[in-house]
Symmetry: C3
Subunit: 222 residues, 3 copies
């Protein structure tokens, strides 16, 4: 039960690092910037989870493999970007795979540390979305997770499968596989078919009724 | 003395979550993005404080109520945004209320954990401004606190009241009330009357005197 | 061996706080915003390092001197910005000095806490680049470190000198001096001569060959 999250963690690290490196290549960062972004995209979710559950130093700091895997993915992307960026943006697929693997491994680690089911599910989701959020914040963009098609929902579903299977004492590897497949499938289908969660119905034109304020609300909170 | 900060924390969580959700609605995030932003705006300040004082797992991770209150505020905002956004931007008022409640509860928790008066005051301020900073960073904006009318000063004043009252052994609930009222009042008055702290007098035109460099300084640090 | 990192830390705090304050002045923040940015730029790297190695509360929270030095630098910059911003942007020099001092002191503290050589080097680099990243993220910009001339490489080199000297049991103060000088020199030379790390060769025009997709890849990952 402890080997599985480790392997999933490293696999997720690799694909998230690819996603971070691809975003860095797009933004014309230099090779070291790309490696920093690879590491940040790959490890921020796990590091945040570990700090929050009190597992310091975090695995990604204490264990060479996370660093090595992140750098490897960054270098591969740096030297062969064209092979990857051609045609359909592969960032989305790598991102979906990383999301799935991290949501599952994050939930498993939280369970190992004795968190209750709801919080283990949420920490799984956080592990999944944290890296992508860090990647986007570092590139001064609104994180994908806040806009994208079923992003966090997919992570939540994958993590929930793992936690529910644990409660029902079902075999952990199978649950991880099913959870990761569900998360990955949901996310990829959402991208392909443009599934989106609803957006709040702020009718900006509604200000026409008499007596209401015709100006739009101020753009900025400060 | 331990119940009071808890109640203040939950109230602050609710209003900051409203503030985060409103900002999310404005930026056309989907329902899950809005819930993530609600949670981040409401809990980042407290989580950061707890990690810094070594109280892990942080209250917001360990205790359902913070999550529940955040999601509730996010869903209310999602379903009834028009009622709130009409006329005068309410984000500012919610934000001021959250600032006041968090500055006070943050200072109280830091005192409970035995921090010295100055650092308890600063952690109160950090608790107050952390959530709003996270909300703005996630939306790729310069945080309100760095620009806005008496934002951090108000939080500092509210936290200082609590800490000073604690040093003078005055009753804690009254101090919390006075501190929160002072912070809220300062911030709302500053918004209403446009009170601002001074800005540094960088005279860009000053480069006219002979021998000086006519070009403006480079925009970017790198 | 414990006094040296402390003094280096305070010196690095001062220069990074200057760098944060200068960036705040450029973005027309008010005096409190400038002080917040001074503190964030000066202490985020060290606070992150301390949280990751389990040294909570972090030095910058527990010890008045960091706060005092940060505020002092912020106030100096606020009251005398013109003297500093004239001609060549001094942010870069302050930034390079802070980078050098923090990379060295960060590596030393990590060694004191018993981390292995590779991770101590990386934490030294993180201490060096963390503050500047926080400064830039708070200003909604892509961090300098991800683009700039030999930024993180310089920090890495400085930290590595300290760690290697420690392994060889060479005198610590001399190693710190050499490491800081190497880091500072590399960074300043890189700025002066425009040394840059290579950027990945994404040939956007390459999509001309038959059968390939003429559209550029989608800009956004979500």
């Amino acid at each position: 039960m402890e080997l599985l999250p480790y392997i999933l963690d490293l696999a997720g690290t690799f694909v998230f690092a690819l996603s971070g490196a691809m975003a860095g290549v797009k933004h014309r960062l230099d090779v070291f910037g790309i490696l920093v972004l690879s590491f940040a995209a790959a490890n921020t979710g796990g590091i945040t989870r570990d700090v929050l559950i009190g597992a310091v130093p975090p695995g990604a700091i204490n264990d060479w493999h996370y660093l090595g895997v992140s750098l490897l993915a960054g270098l591969i992307t740096f030297y062969f970007p064209a092979a990857i960026t051609q045609r359909w943006s592969p960032v989305l697929v790598f991102d979906a795979a990383g999301l799935a693997l991290f949501a599952v491994s994050g939930a498993q680690k939280a369970l190992v540390y004795g968190l209750n089911p709801v919080m283990a599910t949420l920490l799984g989701m956080l592990t999944g979305i944290g890296g992508g959020m860090a990647r986007d914040v570092l590139l001064a963009k609104i994180p994908t997770v806040l806009r994208a098609e079923l992003y966090a929902v997919a992570a939540l579903a994958g993590a929930a499968i793992v936690v529910i299977a644990n409660m029902l004492q079902l075999p952990s590897p199978a649950a991880a596989l099913v959870g990761a497949a569900l998360c990955f499938g949901l996310r990829v289908m959402a991208i392909k078919y443009g599934w989106r969660l609803p957006v709040a119905a702020t009718r900006r034109r509604r200000g026409r009724d008499p007596g209401s304020n015709p100006q739009p609300p101020p753009e900025d909170a400060g």
